[in-house]
Amino acid sequence: MAEHDVFVIAEHLEGKLSDVTFEMLGKARSIAAMLGGRAVAVLLGHQVSALAEQLGAADQVLYLEDAGLRYFIPERAEQALRTLLQDEKPTLTMIANTSMGMDLAAALSAGLDWPLIAYCSDARAEEGKIVATSQIYGGKIAVETLSESDHTLVSVLAGVFPDADGHASKAASIHTVFGAANEGRVRFKGLTVPEAGDVDITRETLLVSVGRGIGTKDNIELVEELASNLGASLAASRPIIDSGWLPKQRQVGKSGLTVKPRLYVAVGISGAPEHLQGMKDAELIIAINSDAGAPIFEVAHYGIVADLFDIVPALSERLTEVRAK
């Protein structure tokens, strides 16, 4: 049994474990220590023992080898995990708050009748019970929640925990089980990777990013001009991409790309956690937003509370003058 244990559901895509897996694993070790139990990594996949080897920071790796899970399939993964967790009954199960994690966490909560605390930026054990801090309402509000059950699930925001403790050079203790579920009601049909050719914003050193504050698609031109005058590339937050105003490759954030440029200018971006996650490690962050309470100002190095339609053209113009000299 896994009483007092903390389970981490590892996440991987195209042969690589995601950073958040290691972030969760590092945190899991400290919580497990509080509980007097083990940190266990759970890896589902097909022929991914090489990935299992990378999870040595865990006290044990439970590797579910399943030919049907070469690619992540929500229903299939959920069924396998439900059976596993039902048997093992860990005190805490950590799942990443990502596209894959979203299909797992709530499904397991309903299926196992275990509480789920979502959008976690912190978690700990208090007298054997799990307490977690979550960020909701676009990051504007924090909530500290106590789980009333002995078995809890948390979905963890990427980028909130350091990943150092999740990496280890020691050999992983791997226990392999074989899965063989029937083909279910959800079938994997393919993976689409965006064409190379458009810019890779993760490689750009200077980025100017535009958010909902820009208002309309036509106004993006103003920001494009600023980017061009700075010699920077254009990026954007989720609402701009969802509206179809810029291609997906430009999206910064949880469901987009993580960038660490030398300069990140955030124009009209409020700074919801999902966006911050994608850019908070930039070396120099300058944020322009008319709302003084916008969460972006928490991570920015310099902040300008003003109408972007005043600042952006003025800055563009000054850069043109300066470059002309």
Partner: protein, 256 residues
């Protein structure tokens, strides 16, 4: 094709959010509510699929607070039926409570597909769509932005978004719950005259649910996040600010 769209209202983030005196929730008097933006995308997607395949779109919500105007707006946008689920619900209820109530109401309706927003800003205990699917025992796929339905084989082909623009394509047997991230068109505007007409002529059906409430968690404290750091704010008029920005860029060697 029968499509069900569960929706809910969330506090409008345009207003400043205040914590109540207890420190365990939001000060509700100061709140203005609006339909969850992802649910708006789900409804738009449902209306688009109805235009393609025919059928009916039914919108459901748990009756907590004043939801009528939201439901009439859904009618004005093109929903065929709107249902309010009544019962002993607190105004601020959690996703598990909502999902159980929705499941009990939905079991009594005919449906081929359930579309709901992938998430909402106040989903402390997880996303309603996935909980609902599990309670109903049907498959679910979240973060969907691309739905094609094949009525003949009763399947749907959907795109699930991962980070970095990568997308996975799945085929799913219907009925299923899809958590919509983005619709194929921006949610349509409901002209006020249509909303007012709906208020006069449309009927909100009611269905009772006696499902249990609670998600096994209790909020100890709600607070505005402490800033671990804060930006240095640049002051002055536009020119002064622009000057300072150029100075900073020079200092950091980003500009000569």
């Amino acid at each position: 094709m029968n499509i069900i769209v569960p929706v809910k209202q969330v506090p409008d983030l345009v207003e400043e959010l205040e914590i109540n005196n207890d420190g365990t929730g939001l000060e509700r008097d100061a709140l203005k509510f609006k339909m969850n933006e992802w649910d708006e995308s789900a409804l738009e997607e449902a209306l688009q699929l109805k235009e393609l395949h025919g059928g009916a779109v039914t919108v459901l919500t748990v009756a907590s607070g004043d939801v009528d105007e939201m439901l009439f707006t859904c009618v004005a946008r093109g929903a065929d039926r709107v249902l309010k689920i009544t019962g002993d619900f607190e105004e601020q209820h959690d996703s598990h409570t909502a999902a159980r109530a929705l499941a009990s109401a939905i079991r009594e309706q005919p449906y081929d597909l359930i579309l709901t927003g992938v998430q909402a800003a106040d989903d402390l205990d997880g996303q309603v769509g996935v909980l609902l699917a599990t309670y109903l025992g049907i498959p679910h796929i979240s973060v969907v932005s691309g739905i094609e339905v094949e009525p003949l084989t009763r399947t749907a082909t959907v795109h699930q978004e991962y980070a970095g623009g990568i997308m996975a394509t799945f085929e799913v047997d219907l009925p299923a719950v899809l958590g919509v991230q983005a619709s194929r068109a921006i949610p349509r505007y409901a002209p006020v005259s249509r909303v007012r007409q709906a208020m006069k002529t449309a009927r909100i059906e009611e269905i009772e649910a006696t499902t249990p409430a609670g998600a096994g968690i209790s909020v100890r404290r709600m607070f505005k996040p402490e800033s671990t750091g804060h930006a240095e704010m640049l002051e002055g008029d536009t020119d002064e600010i622009v000057d300072r920005v150029i100075e900073i860029l020079r200092e950091r060697g980003i500009m000569r």
